[in-house]
Amino acid sequence: MEQTIIRREQRTARRSGTLKNIFDYIRRNHFLYWLMAPALILTILFKYVPMYGIVIAFKDFSYSKGILGSEWVGLKYFDKLLNAPNFELIFMNTLKLSVYGLVIGFPVPILLALMLSQLRRAGVKKNIQLFLYAPNFISVIVVVGMLFIFLSPTGPINKLIIALSGHPIQFMAEPEYFRSIYILSGIWQGAGWASIIYVAALAGVDPELHNAATLDGASLLQRIRHIDLPTIRPVMAVVFILSAGGIMAIGFEKAFLMQTALNLPTSEILPTYVYKIGLKAGDYSYSTAIGLFNSAINVILLVFVNTVVKRLNEGEGLY
């Protein structure tokens, strides 16, 4: 309470302080502003100027006329997107891929962390973590490359399948397998690393709490349920909201790399479409419109999920 009063006083003081005071401060501390300069310039150049560039989604952009000189066309490109014959397919692909990925992928790091926290010997735990985190350091290109090798019709997995059933499965060519491969390989690569934050939260639990509970006759599962889970619940909420907020932005790179001509019916998602229309086909305005549409959906989802989680989580959300 006192603090807020002091802070409010400071704020009014600063506000009533004339511009001259501010300039005084800047002059006396100009070094601090020089330090800010590189980050500021880069942020404006590569984040804010492109934000302004979004206006080309509402214009017929052509190089010769520049952004300012290009003609306004209103919502033409959004119309075009919504009426595109493959719009529904691509939109649903994007949504399904991320929602399935979130639902299946979200619990795995939590389970890993809960299991790791049961290990009493620190050495064993450290070594297991070492292995679990390792795939995080392999590049997407290599992971997808390994998928192509292992799942190819002549690859090791199909050798097994042929031995059992006689027919190889065209994993990377059949649209029906794309999502499973994408999501499972994502878990393979990322779940261990994602568990770090939960492991750390669990390490903060006072061991005495567990001891006392055990003395009182609580079983392992009861202790997990009543001690461990409540401990990591806030972290779970934040992680969930953040990943839900990134739902439409999810993994352009991997989907793009995993695409083959044959699995496009499920592997074409909005971000890969933006790339194809924009940089491959050179239709800058249309591509920007698709990208903007994608981001808008994203923001709506973020707000929606935050509201829902807040309600479920006793008023604790991201904001």
Partner: protein, 293 residues
């Protein structure tokens, strides 16, 4: 810590050990498979798959790769990009993080909001591409190094660290007559080696493993980082002719393409996988400091 688990608890614990072992195996087996396969004789690998017969092993894959110019070139390019990217990232983040950690820094709220907004909104692919193009950075090394170097997360990481440095230290320096700049460079930065190391590590690894910016901004294949070279080998199935030698015979290509894939995975991923255990605690630190917001 020395009390007995009930029988049911022990059963659960056994189950936990089993699942964790399974998880470790799921990660290790594919990786070990790749390493073993990379040391096989190409024809034997094609016909028999992995075998335990020592006669089926050779280092032909590695010979081809190590004699490949595009691979070596990509390796050196990646080394350069990653080192430069780490340098720029550290400088930009440390510089910006410092004022933001000072109480009473005029404009702090403004700068914070300016940075935070970029976490949630962006220009998207084409507008960013157009800016890079307008600046004349297209097809230069700077397109790979500069646009990604400012990262809000890193700035906040640095800021959080600075907040943890006792104020008395820099105040004492000021009393002794050191200028603001001198205090920053000779005292604050000297105390910040751990966070600088974490930032550099993350930036280096991130750049080493990335391909997207290079793919959209670079045309000249001499500038390609390792990951783009790998992409053409692993995903586009284009083993470059120079690896095969002058004989572009289809059969030779077929014979070698598998082994070259395995060996190139090992060569490109091994450095990080071998180094990372030594730096594990720094990487974990990065995750933790970042999550404090």
């Amino acid at each position: 810590m020395t009390f007995k688990h009930s029988r049911f608890d022990r059963f659960i614990l056994g189950f936990v050990y089993m699942l964790l072992t399974l998880a470790v195996l799921l990660i290790v087996v594919p990786l070990v498979y790749v390493v073993i396969a990379s040391f096989m004789e190409p024809t034997a690998l094609l016909n028999k798959g992995l075998s335990l017969n020592p006669a089926d092993y050779s280092i032909e894959g590695y010979e081809k790769i190590l004699s490949s110019k595009s691979m070596l070139n990509g390796f050196l390019n990646s080394l350069f990009y990653s080192a430069m990217f780490a340098l720029v990232t550290v400088v930009v983040s440390m510089f910006a993080g410092f004022p933001l950690a000072i109480d009473g820094f005029v404009g702090r709220r403004f700068f914070m909001i300016l940075f935070i907004v970029t976490m949630f909104f962006g220009g998207g692919l084409v507008p960013t591409f157009l800016v890079v193009k307008q600046l004349g950075l297209l097809d230069t090394v700077w397109a790979v190094i500069i646009p990604g170097a400012v990262n809000v997360w890193n700035i906040f990481l640095a800021r959080t660290f600075f907040k943890g440095i006792p104020k008395e230290l820099s105040e004492a320096a000021k009393v002794d007559g050191a200028s603001e700049a001198r205090t920053f460079f000779s005292i604050v930065l000297a105390l910040s080696k751990p966070i600088m190391f974490v930032l550099a590590l993350y930036a280096f690894v991130g750049q080493w493993n990335s391909f997207f910016d290079a793919m959209i901004y670079l045309e000249n294949s001499r500038l390609y980082p390792l990951q783009l070279v790998l992409r053409s080998i692993l995903i586009q199935n284009q083993v470059s002719p120079e690896m095969i030698g002058d004989r572009l015979a289809q059969a030779e290509l077929k014979r070698l393409s598998e082994i070259i894939k395995y060996a190139s995975i090992v060569i490109s991923s091994l450095p990080l996988l071998v180094m990372y255990p030594f730096f594990q605690k720094y990487f974990e630190k990065g995750v933790m400091v970042g999550s404090l917001k």
